[in-house]
């Protein structure tokens, strides 16, 4: 059968306009929602109602928006962790493990305890936890970085394996040493180790009562600004991008690739570790099992969807935070996961639009 029209993919010969990636990403999200709607229709749901409910449950009021932001916070930090490493084409898929090590190390401040929790001012305790969390993540980034630099060990495998090591290392402590009355969690931390929340200000401002948004979101935003500055303005960011684009050219230009490899893995790990710290100090207030519902892996998706742009990481994280919140409330909860998956597929396939122009032309009859 001959169709009168044919679709051709033309390779783009010029640079695409700067706004195009943002537009295609946005369009992918919209299309993903439409496809999910169709699926919902098929299984007998009402897509419009679900969509309304989704919106209300995530952005409908300050209180639910705050919940969305609380979920977005670890994603921002983990997304940045992945974005930094991916810029150098270092495939760190160990943010999950680095997250757990960050949580573990920052918990040490309280559980050892490293300082006298009754007399030390709150900001010192928090600052110490931040530093410890970042050190924990950085150590977990250093191991694969060093092995790759020194022995050319594939970082994908090492970072993946270290995820499990970190998970079970944590389990050992919370099941055994620090278990709270046999439960797989530590006792609740003293209040001095809690990140300040907006609800702490409820006495002065009534509107903040019940708002769980904590200081971690500020860490996320500040980190995004710093990472943006590093990547786009600093010597180091230039080196990271150069090594990522062409390691041979980087060596030729006199760069120390092994040093950068280790440092970038450590920075990546430190960011994921900070996410772990922010989660236990800002949300759960204790070290326990399953503090992460796979943030470290979602961070990979976030980084890709954001096209490794630190500010876009924030926006994508909010969207994914909303999906997590909605997933808890929409039944069956798989719908949110479905949506997540479809969005990823759409965004990845939308890359075609950046490389090709699609034209539909009438087939000409040839004599």
């Amino acid at each position: 059968m001959n169709l009168p029209y044919t679709v051709i993919f033309e390779k783009r010969t010029e640079d695409y306009p700067k706004w195009l990636p943002a537009l295609t990403s946005l369009a992918s999200v919209v299309i993903a929602f439409i496809i999910s709607g169709i699926v919902l229709k098929f299984i007998g749901g009402d897509p419009i109602r679900v969509l309304k409910f989704f919106f209300n449950a995530t952005f409908g009021s300050w209180a639910v928006f705050s919940d969305t932001m609380v979920k977005a916070t670890p994603l921002i930090l983990v997304g940045l962790a992945c974005a930094v490493a991916f810029k150098m084409k270092l495939w760190n898929i160990g943010a999950e493990g680095q997250f757990y090590m960050g949580a573990f190390f920052s918990s040490l401040v309280v559980l050892v305890p490293m300082v006298n929790l009754e007399t030390t001012p709150k900001f010192i305790v928090i600052a110490l936890m931040v530093i410890m969390g970042m050190i924990g993540g950085a150590i977990w980034g250093f191991i694969p970085g060093f092995l790759k630099a020194k022995y050319q060990v594939n970082e994908i495998i090492i970072t993946l394996m270290l995820n499990y090591v970190a998970l079970y290392w944590n389990n050992f402590w919370i099941f055994d040493k620090w278990s709270d009355a046999g439960f797989q969690m530590t006792p609740q931390f003293e209040k001095v180790a809690w990140l300040p929340r907006l609800s702490d200000l409820a006495k002065e401002y009534r509107a903040f009562s019940g708002i769980t948004l904590h200081l971690g979101v500020v860490f996320g935003i500040v980190a995004a600004i710093i990472i943006w500055w590093i990547l786009e303005r600093s010597h180091w960011g230039y080196e990271i991008k150069l090594i990522g684009d062409n390691p041979k050219a980087a060596r030729y230009a006199g760069l120390n690739i092994t040093k950068n490899l280790v440092l970038v893995m450590m920075l990546s790990g430190a960011l994921a570790g900070l996410a772990g710290m922010s989660e236990i100090s800002g949300v759960v207030h204790r070290l326990q099992e399953r503090i992460s519902p796979g943030y470290g892996f979602t961070g990979i998706i976030v980084a890709w969807l954001a096209k490794l742009n630190p500010f876009a990481v924030i926006i994508v994280s909010i969207l994914f935070g909303a999906l997590i919140i909605a997933g808890r409330q929409i039944q069956p909860s798989g719908i949110a996961n479905l949506l997540q998956g479809i969005i990823l597929f759409m965004v990845i396939s939308s890359d075609v639009l950046l490389r090709y122009k699609i034209r539909i032309i009438r087939v000409e009859q040839e004599a």
Partner: protein, 509 residues
């Protein structure tokens, strides 16, 4: 009954190819007769590659008609073109380095389906080789092969797919002189067996040596269509290509060389395969002097450049203004004022997905005014790039253009501009004009001579003897990692250099 003469292999009529803002081909005609070698000439950006990409199914012409063996064709993809027997041998090889020759040739084919009976296919490929005289061991891995051998694999790939029209995109650009002769022999043997070849080249002498007819493009327009090669002079061809008489001689000033800048003593090094590539080599280069390194490709030239610039380990001492930099990182050589024009422009000399600006600051991003203590002043960097773009006549829409979008000549100018602005004491230039068109070669050569007048010591490694004779003050000939002899260019005897290139030690005295 006698059979009618075979139709023309390819006929392209009134081909127009338009890109946004660019008219790449303007009503071009090209007829490839059955069994001929048809040369396609033109400067970089003249539209040769675009025209051939249309024939290979990569682009669709905006208008015009293409016939293959008399039949009108309309290609939507390279697959369609291959099905009609059109095969393209690209300048940049598309091979998988870790796989064998046979595996690379079979890649992407429907057969074999499930089992790789490699020995069987090895034999098939050997048969094909015997037929056309393309020698390369089918069981070798691509990374073990020389550039010339890799090219043979590319040719075998198209032949294996049943191509009877071969488009060869600057096949000689990457080859050593004797490899070029082999290639030409292969081309002749292929046409004898009924293949037709379109041969894209920049080099006038090669065209006259091997082609039957030629088509010349200039800025998208054909200035000669199917002209007979007989009786054409190099000057005439060059005029068709660039529209003006090319001055082949670049003026070189008389000057006395100064102090010794580079002093190599007993350098030995291995190549990537662990075979000895440099064997107790000693050389000296002085200020304001160009020392040419001649030799057949693969006699240690690449390794010599890499050893001096710190990219390869070695034995012996490398003194740069008296300081030993042997076996240090490239940064040590850079700090002592060593500039390097690498052999591989895209693979080593530039970062393809970064902008012209980012590529020009590769070596001075830490220095004021571009670099602050921690950060890069991108306004300064862009200004720097713009002034280089202006001064070196780099053709690109703007300094935000990605390096991979530049033509070979313009990319080379970016690299040269960057290296010259580091104010080098020593410049190691490896094949700086390879694969460039006549106009670009001239400007690159002028830049090297200007650098010589500035007092830079230059080590020029080239496989073009003519280039060495034009630019160098002295020529050292390399053979199997040893210096066979050094001659003054002024009273150099080409025959003597040729003898040394094949391994005859220079007679003293």
């Amino acid at each position: 009954m006698t059979s009618p003469p075979p139709p023309n292999a390819v006929e392209m009529k009134d081909i127009v190819i338009r890109f946004p803002g660019v008219l790449a081909n303007d009503h071009v005609n090209l007829t490839l007769k059955h069994g001929e070698i048809h040369a396609l000439l033109g400067e970089n950006g003249a539209g040769k590659s675009t025209l051939m990409s249309a024939l290979a199914g990569l682009y669709k012409p905006t208008s015009g008609i293409m016939r293959v063996h008399g039949e009108i064709v309309d290609f939507n993809s390279p697959k369609d073109a291959i099905a009609k027997g059109i095969g393209m041998v690209y300048q940049h090889f598309m091979l998988v380095p870790t796989q064998t020759v046979t595996e690379n040739i079979l890649l992407g084919l429907n057969e074999p389906r499930f089992f790789m009976d490699l020995p069987k296919y090895d034999q098939k490929i050997r048969d094909l080789q015997d037929q056309f005289g393309l020698r390369v061991d089918p069981t070798m891995k691509i990374w073990q092969l020389s550039v010339g051998e890799q090219q043979r694999v590319e040719i075998l790939k198209t032949l294996y797919r049943g191509a009877d029209v071969l488009i060869m995109d600057e096949p000689t650009a990457v080859l050593a002189p004797q490899e070029i002769d082999d290639l030409m022999e292969t081309m002749r043997s292929m046409t004898k067996q009924g293949k037709s070849i379109i041969f894209i080249s920049h080099k006038l002498n090669e065209v006259t040596a091997v082609a039957d007819r030629l088509t010349v493009l200039r800025k998208g327009v054909a200035t000669a269509e199917g002209m007979d090669i007989e009786g054409l002079t190099g000057e005439k061809l060059a005029e068709l290509m660039v529209g003006r008489k090319v001055i082949f001689r670049v003026e070189k000033k008389e000057q006395e060389p100064g102090d010794i800048v580079l002093d190599l003593k007993d350098i030995s090094a291995q190549n990537n395969k662990g075979v000895q590539a440099l064997n107790k080599l000693s050389l000296k280069v002085r200020e304001g002097e160009i020392l040419g390194i001649a030799g057949v490709a693969g006699n240690g030239q690449s390794e010599l450049a890499e050893v001096i610039t710190g990219m390869r380990a070695c034995e012996g001492t490398i003194l740069i203004n008296g300081e030993d930099v042997a076996n240090q990182e490239p940064s040590a050589a850079i700090a002592r004022g060593v500039a390097h024009i690498p052999e591989d422009r895209t693979g080593v000399g530039s970062a393809p997905n970064m902008t012209i600006t980012e590529n020009t600051i590769m070596k001075n991003y830490r220095d004021t005014p571009i670099g602050n203590k921690w950060s890069i002043n991108f306004t300064e960097a862009r200004n720097h790039a713009r002034s280089l773009k202006e001064a070196y006549d780099i053709l690109a829409p703007n300094v935000r253009t990605m390096a991979r979008k530049l033509s070979g000549g313009n990319l080379q100018k970016v690299i040269l501009a960057r290296e010259i602005t580091t104010d080098p004491k020593l410049m190691v230039a490896m094949q700086p004009t390879r694969g460039l068109d006549v106009g670009a070669i001239e400007s690159i050569q002028r830049l090297l001579l200007a650098q010589r007048e500035e007092g830079t010591a230059i080590l020029l490694i080239s496989e073009e003897l003519e280039e060495l004779l034009t630019l160098s003050d002295r020529i050292a000939v390399l053979h199997e990692g040893k210096v066979m002899g050094i001659v003054d260019t002024e009273n150099a005897d080409v025959k003597e250099i040729g003898l040394m290139m094949t391994g005859t030690q220079r007679s003293e005295g």
